[in-house]
Symmetry: C2
Subunit: 324 residues, 2 copies
Amino acid sequence: MTKKIILKTLYEKKDEYVPLEELVNETGKSQKEVEIEFDTLEDEGYIINHSKLGYRLIKTPNLLLPYEVKKGLKTKFMGKDIHYFKEVDSTNDVAKYLAENGAEEGTVVVAEIQNRGKGRMGKTWISPPGGVWMSIILRPDIPTSKAPQLTLVTGVAVAETLKKELNLDVGIKWPNDILIGNKKVCGILTEVNANINKINYVIVGIGIDMNVDVPLLPPDLQEGATSLKNELDTEINGAILVQKFLLNLEKLYNQFTSGKFPDILNEWRFLSKTIGRKVEVRTRGKTIRGDAIGINKDGILILELDDGSLRKIISGECLHINTS
Amino acid sequence: MTKKIILKTLYEKKDEYVPLEELVNETGKSQKEVEIEFDTLEDEGYIINHSKLGYRLIKTPNLLLPYEVKKGLKTKFMGKDIHYFKEVDSTNDVAKYLAENGAEEGTVVVAEIQNRGKGRMGKTWISPPGGVWMSIILRPDIPTSKAPQLTLVTGVAVAETLKKELNLDVGIKWPNDILIGNKKVCGILTEVNANINKINYVIVGIGIDMNVDVPLLPPDLQEGATSLKNELDTEINGAILVQKFLLNLEKLYNQFTSGKFPDILNEWRFLSKTIGRKVEVRTRGKTIRGDAIGINKDGILILELDDGSLRKIISGECLHINTS
């Protein structure tokens, strides 16, 4: 709270020195306590000029610090509570812990680094500095069977945000990899905790390779991966991107919970880079090849095999095959 | 030719009177012959002021007169030869006759009124004044089996043109009805003349209810139909619309003949108002209901029935069912 007041004051008096006495007044803390807060801020990466005139904010770190994300956040509930970690094993696991302990819908867990980030199908998600490693707690009042639809909703939210804000050739590879061109820039992992008929909570995990340096990824991932920074040749402001994403997600989530999933699915179809492609899907040890011709109302992929037969694919890892 | 030179001269000297002698000089015809041409022009609907200073063009009729369409036409071959009729039984039939007699690819037949306009499935196409009733002769060097794809290509060309030029909520109902909102504004009828392995010619017939007054259509069609004029509350310039359409069609046709049908099909999917809808398809006396979930690489519609089974629909009449 003290930190928040200090930052608010420094932002309001941008380009001016703020005397220590004023900060003491604003916060109601002692000189010593205010000075300690400044040490913390500098640890977090804020660059602050200190002279006999007082304190002046020179530069904000490009990190997903709660104060920075919330500052421009226009949502009603999404991201109103943000738990920030410099380093964590898995943001999904932290979110799960918070959800078990009553955290509210819309609570966000974010970390600069994940040491054991989780991907789909039991894979590891490599999470070096510069990415958006984020998990969101949702508590939708929907049948348990519909929870997987949230993965598609989240995919649309990410893809729309990147497309609109950054004007990139963004698309979705079924079920929910976000691509730029044909390279992956974001993965989504949805975990559901539910009884037979009731969802307790859903954790939506999102990993966006925002300002990640692609050459720092493991060699076997480099060819198929990209980052926003890599595509645009410039560093992206993470706090602003996350604000836009959370707003978009809240809008789509509200549509979803009010029964408008078909509209979102049509948007998914529009963003899909899989439909119309020849694909290979690995599912439970089997590999199936065919033309991806559509998805049904539950998000199940429909393949047409070479013999003309049709096949439903509920889950699996999908590869786009080049035919040209 | 004389008429073309006269019109060209009048357009070049817009807002000026052109002396009769100048037109005699330009055309190399006699005074009498030039005067007769002016009678023809006035019959066609041009309004021309005649004083002792000469002739002045006041108003061009909003008709698909060859000179008017060709004036701003930027195509290489589409619409370079235009056969115009005030009234005809069926532009497709005239086009067939011309094709049989060696007419070149891109030849266009257009009429202000069709007395026996043809629709899909043996139906009549009502063709009152104000519409674009047009047939185009194509001679693609493709296997006969791929000819039906041209229907989808044409559908995309019409939909894209209306969407881009008029900024309307345009979409395609499978296989090739063009809708604004949920009302039909255009139908397409493709007729193929082919041997087993060789296409002789394809006639693509297009009917757009451009400036048609909807209340003048037969009562049973009025509810499901609209016109551009009806939607925009203003008269559309037909010559300009047809120029844009022919240019767009030529571009897509060139893509098609160079093997890029999959890209066009993706555009079709994007424009589709059928995919994602509950539909009822009437095909060969049977009626099938289901969710339209996609189309395959040949343009065949894929339905998911209530029992979860998948069904291919090769042809038929498709109704969108309201579920909300």
